[in-house]
Assembly symmetry: C2
Homo-oligomer: 197 residues x 2
DNA sequence: GTCTATAGTAAGATAGAC
DNA sequence: GTCTATCTTACTATAGAC
């Protein structure tokens, strides 16, 4: 066995992220994280003195950076709204591997009344995502209130079709969702999104 | 301490279900399950020789029975479609405590490529739910293909707004979803659901 | 920065008394 | 049907060598 070499942060975070997305936070033991990254447990503690919780938090922060770069900034660019939204859709397709990989925002959120150690990060990510999407819709001439509802609904659809794709064992729901997302977000009719009144 | 009394199955399943929905499958240790149910670990093994996995499986079966009684059968009744759908919405509102409690179908599904021990049960539940909803929409005069897409989309929206409600720390997304679900499902216009072509 | 080695704790699971 | 007691394994975390 040769001399151990430093593991780059980018590949480290990628592998940690994959584990959390595959087996969840509680299911991700240090043994599994160690095997996946190639780092021994003690080395993981060197990188993350706070243990698994700190590792998950930093992975989440890393994911939020990705969200900012690939979703929020494109949505806030000065191009035509349909182009910005299309960029978001393509990024989401890649990020979730066409529906095969779960969302950290779902995986790392604790269901219980105590919202868990990552509640603030997760809430911030969802809020920023929805706000950026709504802003793009407003730029497209959509009423601000309706834009907010549509944006929130779109994020819920992405999350829900990920859940459904996993449960049904097929990526079709997620693919269908992404395929119709742009047209649906920019539709001019009140459609099925409008307030019932 | 008095003589131990038998714990009824109905309350046992309810308490086990609550734990799984609160802390997830991996997070639900036998110590937690024991504390929540009032049964010692050995007693849990007496009821569930297969351990935690069997307990979760039986809880899931119990949930599917609930789904059949409160969602599938009402959807398949011979009343007007809007009444049937309204019954489903009210049942969902109660089952998820207005968006405060997670869905076992999401919680117990393993994200990874190996779909986990409950994949078949979860897939069956989602499939039956979508099929029953689609059948009600067909009865309402909606084109079968569109009915299937709308039904799948509605289930995804329920799951997604549950995820979002948890992440945002408010039940509003789930409530908004339920409030507009009936009108949206039965809308006569192509709406935002139609195929892009 | 990574490793081996190890302590201490919590987990899943079983045996046998009542 | 529930309990106490125990076993074995797996996990988290730390110490110290290289």
């Amino acid at each position: 066995m040769g001399r151990p070499v430093k593991v780059e942060d980018s590949v480290l975070f990628k592998k940690l992220s994959d584990v959390f997305r595959e087996v969840g936070y509680e299911g991700a033991s240090l043994a599994i994280l160690s095997a996946a990254t190639g780092l021994k447990r003690a080395s993981l503690y060197h990188r993350f003195p706070g243990g698994k919780e700190q590792a998950a938090r930093e992975v989440l922060v890393c994911a939020e950076t990705w969200l900012t770069d690939h979703v929020l900034l494109p949505l806030a660019s000065d191009g035509p709204p349909e182009v910005r939204i299309r960029a978001m859709v393509q990024s989401l397709d890649a990020f979730y591997s066409g529906g095969r990989q779960a969302c950290l925002l779902n995986i790392l959120s604790s269901p219980g009344p105590d919202r868990g150690p990552f509640a603030a990060l997760i809430e911030h990510a969802f809020t920023a995502w929805i706000a950026a999407l709504a802003a793009a819709l407003v730029d497209a001439g959509i009423d601000p209130e309706r834009a907010g509802l549509r944006a929130e609904r779109a994020v819920a659809l992405v999350q829900g079709t990920l859940v459904l794709s996993r449960g049904l064992g097929t990526t079709r729901p997620f693919e269908t969702c992404l395929a119709s997302l742009e047209l649906e977000l920019l539709a001019s009719e009140p459609g099925e999104m409008g307030k019932p009144s």
